[in-house]
């Protein structure tokens, strides 16, 4: 009851200003950061090979472009709201600052502050001599004995007050006791009167307004706050670490737990599991599990879903994160077949091509499936084999009559990246061998090449090109050098609703029991520079003469190993599988021995 | 024994699935 209220509007502007700044400063910083880094990301995409991305736009259907445009509009609307809030916020801040500046009551309170430097009219970094000389000059001017006779009594008392203040200021800067007081309490005379109050104008707390205020507080603390907190909490609780719904994760776990080894793992099985995902039910509560399954199959078989086409695109966009969640769970259950098929299913959905022995060719645009499967005499299943024929013959094999279309298809086919293993080893940073109980990681040197390039053995690449930097930083963090490689460019995926660049998934399997030993490692940085090279297998005749290893860029993949090396000496075998999530064909699958020695 | 029998009886079905796939 004895509290003072903010009659003179002295305190509440500062309160509002503080609250606004707490919100606006981080928000503005975040927005500026996004603007800058967004520009950087675009630059990265431009740096890498972009022919696949451009072609992908060209071949995308109108529904997909519409779908993307709608999503972009949603995103930019939210961004516009955020920007609006930032602008409005800073405008209010500017107004408040100006209000504070012009408010007399606040200014009066400010003048009560004791500032010896302004009183003595010197700068804050003056020396003792400067202070003394300033004091002497002013005291001469304002000393009561030195004042002129023709001053009015009021002028006299003002001068006398000024003299007292000047003396105090001098003492505050020189005399020990006064200076201590000044530093502790801000005033040489010791603690001044302080007042405590509430930063609200009285009318808000008095009479009728007070009931409104109380109701307002009750609503805020008892209703609005709990509502938002509980909504946020249930949203966080409903998602797993990998970003899928807990119900979906528990469904996948249940399927894997009850998985019978006699069951053959097919695309149909994975799609069936996916169709039970909770995310789909939440997105389309009016559709059932069987519809989801049918729509996903439509995507893989490039069938138009009629009225459900937009729904299908929504499901397909969501299936990306669901498949990664399934992959994570499958590796935790150590099941290699499911892990492999999950990645293959992602490929099938991205390329809208079923998993079959001919997927590598069917993923290309303009291919006539019928003439491919029934046509040629030789059974061609791989891109590499396809490029052993000349362009005209390829056109016949793929059933493409139009020459422009054929050229586009060939451009895409030769731009699909294939991984070629150059070197592979288990490495312990700082050691020359893998010692017992050490922490090795798997270091791979790969060549990203086109199916069109002539094959050359890994021993044609000299060891010097495969060496890593041996400096202190690389020993401390062997994975830092990976970040120097550029990000993957856009994938050719005209049937996928979003723009994507994908990644490669690295799985490590113990050969002894054939089971996966750790969660997958995602690789999203590799240089595609080699794909531009013209090293056509049909034209290069003499490998020895034409091959120049220094023209080729070697990529590095480092896979962390989740367990320490075994305690005994010996040879331990692991199978390393590096699968692309985007294209059929560019995968690696090999055995790597870990030689544990003293 | 029953598990063994079930696994044995799955052989025919697996043959069909793989033949279709390949």
């Amino acid at each position: 009851q004895s509290y003072d209220y903010d009659e003179g509007s002295e305190t509440w502007p500062f309160f509002v200003l503080a609250v606004l700044c707490v919100v606006l400063v981080p928000l503005t910083a975040m927005q500026l950061w996004e603007l800058v880094s967004g520009g950087q990301k675009d630059q990265d995409l431009k740096d890498q090979l972009n022919v696949l991305g451009k072609m992908s736009e060209q071949y995308a259907s109108s529904e997909i472009l519409e779908f993307r445009a709608k999503n972009l509009a949603k995103k930019s609307k939210w961004l516009a709201k955020r920007n609006l809030f930032i602008i409005a916020g800073w405008t209010v801040v500017a107004y408040l600052v100006q209000y504070i500046g012009s408010n007399d009551a606040i200014q009066d309170a400010a003048t009560l502050l004791f500032d010896p430097y302004t009183l003595l009219d010197i700068s804050t970094s003056s020396t003792d001599r400067e202070i003394r000389s300033a004091y002497r000059k002013l005291s001469v001017k304002f000393h009561p004995d030195k004042l002129t006779k023709d001053l009015s009594p009021e002028q006299r008392s003002v001068a006398e007050e000024q003299f007292v203040l000047i003396t105090k200021a001098y003492k505050a800067l020189t005399d020990e006791v006064t200076r201590e007081n000044f530093l502790k309490y801000g005033h040489p005379d010791g603690p001044q009167a302080t007042s405590h109050g509430i930063a609200l104008p009285k009318f808000l707390v008095d009479s009728s307004a007070s009931t409104l205020m109380v109701l307002g507080y009750i609503a805020l603390l008892g209703v609005i706050l709990p509502y938002f907190v509980s909504r946020w909490w249930s949203k966080t609780q409903s998602m797993t670490k990998k970003g899928i719904h807990v119900k979906s994760a528990s469904y996948f776990s249940d399927r894997l737990f009850n998985f019978k080894p006699s069951q053959v793992v097919t695309l149909d099985l994975i799609v069936n599991w996916l169709s039970h995902a909770e995310e789909f039910k939440l997105m389309f509560p009016e559709l059932g599990q069987e519809t989801f399954e049918t729509l996903l199959h439509d995507q893989v078989n490039r069938k138009h879903s009629g009225t459900l086409e937009t729904a299908k695109l929504g499901l397909v966009a969501k299936s990306h994160v669901l498949l990664f969640g399934l992959l994570d769970i499958a590796t935790t259950f150590r099941n290699l077949e499911i892990s492999n098929m999950a990645i293959d299913t992602l490929k099938a959905i991205v390329q809208a091509t079923p998993v079959s022995p001919y997927s590598q060719l069917l993923q290309l645009p303009n291919v006539n499936a019928k003439s491919l499967l029934e046509g040629s005499v030789d059974d061609i299943r791989t891109l590499g084999k396809l490029f052993t024929y000349d362009d005209a013959k390829i056109g016949k094999i793929l059933g493409i009559d139009d020459n422009t279309k054929l050229q586009e298809t060939l451009t895409i086919a030769s731009a699909i990246p294939h991984l070629k293993l150059i070197r592979a080893e288990f490495k312990v940073p700082g050691e020359s061998v893998v010692t017992p109980q050490s922490t090795p990681h798997i270091s791979l040197k790969v060549l990203v090449r086109s199916a069109k390039h002539k094959f050359f053995g890994p021993n044609l690449i000299p060891d010097e090109m495969c060496q890593d930097e041996q400096d202190f930083d690389s020993l401390r963090d062997p994975f830092a050098s990976i970040l120097e490689q550029p990000r993957l460019p856009q994938t050719f995926a005209p049937h996928f609703p979003g723009k994507r660049s994908g990644c490669w998934c690295a799985l490590v399997v113990l050969q002894k029991d054939g089971k996966v030993i750790q969660t997958p490692m995602l690789i999203d940085r590799l240089s595609f520079a080699n794909l531009n090279k013209d090293f056509d297998k049909r034209t290069v005749k003499d490998l020895e003469k034409d091959f120049k290893p220094e023209d080729w860029v070697i990529g590095t993949i480092k896979i962390p190993f989740s367990q320490p090396a075994p305690a005994e000496k010996g040879d331990f075998f692991f199978r390393v599988i590096v699968k692309s999530t985007e294209y059929f064909g560019p995968d690696l699958d090999f055995t790597l021995a870990m030689a544990v020695r003293e | 024994n029953q598990a063994l029998k079930r696994r044995f009886q799955a052989i025919l079905l697996r043959k069909e699935v793989f033949s279709e796939q390949w």
Binding site: T382, L383, Q511, D589 | F8
Partner: protein
């Protein structure tokens, strides 16, 4: 709800989940076999007459193999395997049943391979691997079958696994080289 038919001595659980249904089927199978068992003092010891029958059929097959009558040999061995599956009671020693089956299956695999029935051989080999037989000869035959079926990537995975368990096996090494050559051709 559990329902029991006292005439057929069988249980039934309508609208049951997959697991419960399987359990009920197993219980019913066991009940039927027990009811059909004539000897009140049955033991886990494998029955003499079943063993004799299975052995006879199998040896028949071997004889036909020696006479180069491959198709007939396969038929006899198939019969022997089917007999083992049907005649053996579920309470007879598992280790004996498994060994008997695996032995006959190994011969069936070879007969299939010789007659070009690669998919059949592959499924039998998968069965042998799944039931714990991871010897090198299984890997050798599986690699061979996969190569014949043009599944060169899978063949490579098999032969590499075989080599990691038996690094000095000459036959596996030869198969590995051959498969690498075929893979190179397959990829142009």
């Amino acid at each position: 709800t559990l329902q029991y038919d006292s005439n057929s001595k069988l249980l039934d659980v309508p609208d049951a989940s997959e697991d419960v249904e399987m359990n009920v089927k197993q219980i019913n199978k066991l009940t039927q076999d027990l009811v059909a068992e004539s000897n009140p003092n049955f033991t886990p010891q494998p029955r003499e007459d079943s063993t004799a029958m299975i052995k006879k059929l199998f040896e028949n097959g071997l004889k036909q193999l020696q006479q180069q009558k491959m198709a007939d040999a396969l038929k006899s061995v198939n019969l022997a395997v089917e007999m083992a599956q049907r005649k053996r009671a579920p309470w007879e020693a598992f280790a004996v049943q498994l060994q008997e089956l695996q032995f006959m299956m190994k011969n069936r695999v070879d007969l299939c391979l010789v007659q070009g029935k690669f998919m059949d051989a592959l499924q039998d080999l998968d069965f042998l691997q799944n039931t714990g037989l991871t010897t090198s000869d299984v890997f050798i035959r599986k690699t061979d079958a996969l190569m014949k079926l043009k599944q060169y990537d899978q063949a490579r995975a098999e032969v590499e696994r075989g080599l990691s368990l038996d690094p000095t096996n000459a036959k596996l090494r030869v198969l590995h080289m051959e498969n690498t050559r075929r893979l190179a051709e397959y990829n142009g």
